[in-house]
Amino acid sequence: MSQLIPAIGFGLITASILAIAAVGFTLQFSVTNILNLAYGDIMTACAFAAYVANQAGVNIWICLVIASLFGAVFSFLLNRLVYFQFVRRGTKLFGMIIVTIAMSLIIQNVLLAIFRPTFFSYHASQGPSYTFGSMVFTASQLAIIGIAALAMLAVHLLSTRTKLGKAMRATATNPGLARSCGVATDRVIDAAWLVSGALCGIAGVAVVLNTATFSEGTGATFLVPIIAAAVLGGIGQPYGAMLGAITIGLASEIAASVINPSYKDVVAFGILIVVLLVRPQGILSEVAAAKEVAA
């Protein structure tokens, strides 16, 4: 029991980071229908963007904003210059997955070639520690939780209160119908890449702040729990992804403290398998079901 409560604390932090990343991943997938397996590597690229800024003496929280902007622009360009071109040329679903994997290999290894194979960390103080019962959080960990909560609120407001959000949901459910109702789906898709990239950037820096060091493979490894969280929630469902992130985050950290820290991702994967067996469409699944019919 004495281990369990601190584990829940860690779980909350992991869940926060996962939620940011998984919501970005699932939002972009639902709107664009491209399974972007380079997502983890975009995270790494954002972490490196923040690293470069940080080395130049910029405060880490401003670096977070820089990484977020970098992620937005990077994702946008990646879609416009690569993915969209392939889609327009008629590359099918499977072909697009291969294209994203190829991009993942390219991004990861270009980063490796530029920054060399070592571990990096930010110049950032963790701030004072705060104790809640037997959970201990550093100031920066609390900030991560706060940022995640803000990001989730922002995504919620975006998708329910703004015209763009409604257009995104319409495009996700039925692009053809959305287009004939006057939704500029190409612009919506651009917006989805920008939003997802921004979330990706925040998540990339948050991961590094939490784990202290990173290398060119950090994002790719983090893709496992992201996918698990997104699939658990029903892919294309932002609220499902939040729920999935909390489940995966808590479960994997508790497993890490009870069993063995190396098995965090294995637990995430185990949950993923069970969900796929029992409920392949995820917990919340209207859009996924609609897509199945369309596909």
């Binding site: 399974l35 397996l37 690569v82 392939f86 040329r89 590359t91 679903l93 499977f94 072909g95 997955i97 291969i98 294209v99 994997i101 190829a102 991009m103 993942s104 290999l105 390219i106 990861q108 290894n109 270009v110 490796l112 070639a113 060399r116 194979p117 490894t221 893709l223 496992v224 996918i227 698990a228 699939v231 892919i235 063995n260 190396s262 098995y263 991702d265 294995v266 994967f269 993923l272 398998i273 796929l276 067996l277 392949p280 199945e292 596909a295």
Partner: protein
Amino acid sequence: MSNAMQFYISTLLIYLFIDIIGVLGLNLQFGVAGIINFAYIAFVGVGAYTAAVLSLGPDHPDNFQHYLFGANLPFPLPIIAAGAASGILSLLVGVISLRRLRSDYQAMVMLVLSLIATLVASNATGLVNGPAGLATIPWPLFDQLGLSPVDYQWVYAGWAGLLAVLTFLFVQRITNSPLGRTLRAMRDNDRAGAALGKSITGLRLMIFVVGGVIAGVCGAVFVEFIQAWSPGSWLYPETFVFFAAILVGGTANNWGAMVGALLVPVGFLEATRFLPQIFYQGFIEAMQWVCVGLLILLFLWFRPSGLFPERPGRFRPRAEAVSRPSE
């Protein structure tokens, strides 16, 4: 020929034959049947580990490496066991992931499976000696044959070549059989296939297992030659080398897949072996992966069906259809 040159050429030949076996297995799964197996290299890995532990002999507490299921089986048995182990694992994975799932979900699950498999192999140190991996796996029949290492390599190349030819004949036989036609129909339109009464799940599962067995044999023949195996040898990007070979050579064309195996894995190895180390250790390898990625993109863009596209089915016209009405 000098000794070093003989070593080099026979090694390349062995790599080529092993890569051909691997690429043919994946081509059967992906090219012919349309199953997206992003965990292919994990099945190669399982085969390799199986062959390794079954030829290393029982584990001993004083040993420098520790593993389960150690045994000292005579020559062809470890390879057969490797194929069987990989096939059984394929069956388990296939039963879970091939049903009901959309193909992009399947692709994701496979990719994650590959990541997790390396994670487990590295962390469960008692299983297959963790991150250090297994080493000193004996060359099969080396003592019995009594050959010099160079001559032995040539013999091994012949053995790998024989297996590659057998694999090719087997895969080609399936591809050109009525079963192969059914598989291609399933790949192109699974609903139509199901409507014609074909068991789509059953067919997919069968090909998944057959491909898994080929992957296992590929891993076994590889590990018995290189004599060492660790989680670093089968990281998930390796699967995409095989995919790149197929995309370059020609999806669903077994001749093309063999050309792809010659060009991508072996070509890259040979082309980069003599490059000097520039900048720092590991730079060339990073660039190799960038090139694999670019190669995939370029082929998908300019020549999506590969150098040797799948030949469209030819049906011998029936006599009455050909003979024109009497003039």
